[in-house]
């Protein structure tokens, strides 16, 4: 027989009290695991929804002459032909260290064309990238499939009296209108979108770009780090982070994280208090028993070890149950908060170990005073019968 057998047998005897002890600690651990899991879900949610927010990095040619505006942002160098961005710059972006954090890289050439006597902005884009970047676009008709197809902004279609299937002459070259965009409330309503290489050809600027929009997300590093890495790859370009896109969401997440930490601390304190009062009551109930232990030669450290072993066993059980419950609860509550689908349960070994460790630590810390109190009990007082 060893001290652990005494601890285990005592826990078995006091089933009801041990149940409430484990329950108190389990609720605390469940709360912590749930909040951590939901915070992670929210993080993941932001990453997944990134495309819906549009670009968050803008790459412009380095130029002192900022004369054209796009999407509320100045686009440098276009009007004075000071184009320094080229098609060959696009693959360089995908070579940065944090390339896994890049979601979309959409190059553009922007100019103004006179069509049917009206000056209209013309944007050369790679439709596959542009449509991925602008999830909010709703196209009446179909997306362009070839070089000689274009999309029209809602206002342009009205001003030119064009509809899907019509033909539009751009610099003398006929282009079929494959679709018309729903109103977006942005400058996209006033532009014609055509294939990038086609626009480069009609504007006689082969290989040139006005700007590159990048959609990136980094869980572990700030967006500024991605900006720095792109700037290093493209020293001739001006790389700017558009913080607004994610800022609100990140701020909300930050608030939730702070809220989670607060709630976790409160719940864990309550859990600790439950362990403390329960252990203290247990020690007082066991005065006589502790007196016997001391009388037959148990050292103070032996008594402390018996109490700590009990706390550790309770902590381990509460940690395991708390982690499992936390996973379950976060699967139910998480989707309500984030709007994501619950789906598969992701078992994170680090969170599991952390939860069990935290639970055991709280069990032992909350039992420290009761254990020391027990070890200091006078054996003669404890053994009143003597």
């Amino acid at each position: 027989m060893r001290l652990k057998d005494i601890s285990i047998n005592n826990l078995r005897r006091r089933k009801g009290k041990v149940f409430s002890l484990i329950l108190g600690l389990t609720i605390g651990i469940t709360t912590v695991v749930t909040l951590i899991s939901i915070t992670r879900m929210m993080n993941e949610d932001i990453a997944n929804k990134l495309d819906e927010f549009g670009a968050n990095i803008l790459i412009l040619p380095r130029s002192d002459d900022l004369s054209l505006s796009y999407g509320g942002m100045s686009v440098g160098g276009v009007s004075v032909d000071a184009q320094t961005l080229m098609d060959s710059d696009v693959p360089k972006i995908s070579q940065i260290e944090a390339k896994e954090n890049l979601s979309t890289v959409s190059p553009k050439l922007i100019g103004v064309m006179e069509i049917e006597g009206k000056k209209i902005p013309l944007m050369g884009v790679q439709f596959s990238e542009e449509i991925r970047l602008k999830k909010w676009w709703k196209v009446h008709g179909s997306e362009p499939k070839s070089r000689d197809e274009a999309l029209l902004g809602n206002e342009v279609a009205v001003r030119l009296f064009k509809s899907t299937g019509d033909t539009l002459p751009i610099n003398g070259k006929p282009v079929r209108i494959s679709g018309i965009l729903d109103e977006t409330g942005s400058q996209d309503d006033f532009a014609i979108f055509a294939d990038l290489t086609f626009v480069q050809e009609v504007m006689k600027k082969p290989g040139s770009l006005s700007l590159i929009e990048v959609s990136a997300y980094c869980n572990t590093c700030p967006i500024e780090e991605i900006v720095r890495q792109i700037s290093k790859q493209l020293p001739h370009a001006k790389v700017t982070a558009i913080k607004q896109t994610l800022q609100t969401k990140m701020e909300a997440l930050d608030h939730f994280k702070k809220f989670s930490v607060g709630i976790s601390i409160i719940v864990l304190l309550i859990g600790s208090l439950i362990v403390f009062t329960n252990m203290m009551a247990s020690v007082n109930e066991r005065k006589r028993e502790i007196g016997i232990f001391r009388a037959i030669g148990f050292r103070k450290s032996h008594v402390v070890r018996i109490i700590f072993l009990e706390a550790l066993i309770v902590g381990l059980i509460a940690g395991i149950i708390g982690y499992a419950w936390g996973l379950g609860v976060s699967q139910v509550i998480g989707p309500m908060i984030t709007g994501m689908k619950g789906g598969k349960i992701f078992i994170d070994p680090l969170l599991a170990i952390g939860a069990i460790f935290l639970s055991s630590l709280i069990g032992i810390l909350s039992s420290a005073y009761p254990a020391i109190h027990a070890s200091k009990m006078d054996p003669t007082t404890a053994l009143r019968a003597l």
Partner: protein
Amino acid sequence: MSLIEIKKLNKAYESGEECVMALVDVDLNIEKGEFISVMGPSGSGKSTLLTILGGLNHPTGGEVVVDDIPIYKLSLEKLADFRREYLGFIFQSFQLIPYLTVIENVMLPLSITEKTNREQVKMAEEILERIGLRGKERRLPDQLSGGEQERVAIARALVNSPPILMADEPTGNLDSKTGKEIMDLFKSLHEEGQTIVMVTHNPENTAFSTRTISLKDGRVENNGGKA
């Protein structure tokens, strides 16, 4: 050199502003192999004497030397080690641990030694055999009669083969027949060379001992004829 030497032992208890002397200038020597009965009316100080002899209760003055060790000069942890090595306690009302089986109760003093589980079981089974409790090892204390519980308490006190056995009213909670059986067991242990110090109310029990010490108002009234 006596096994136990008690010199000028005093013990005072403070009760509010009052100071009650439980033991006053007690001098005693107990030899190896003696079976001592400590008699006296309630409040005479016999239980206090037993707890002080047992290293459980620091005296206010005087000295207790066991096997040449002045036990109250030891640190508290060393004193616990002393109790484990030298003493076997049989408490009033048996004081078994209710959630441990008979054999686990007996093995309790061994649980903090280096002995392996197999060695512990062997030692416990041997002592249970000797006191007639084989076959009841897996029972819990509340499944035993009073006499059987007393025997488990005796087995627990003896499992470590301590030089001194201390018993506080060992027959106090037993009927006279069972009490006689327990006293017979004490007698046979004594005949095998065990030193026993027993506190008792029952004058009949003193017939089993080799010497009776009488206490009154904390003083030794009669030390059984020993100087």
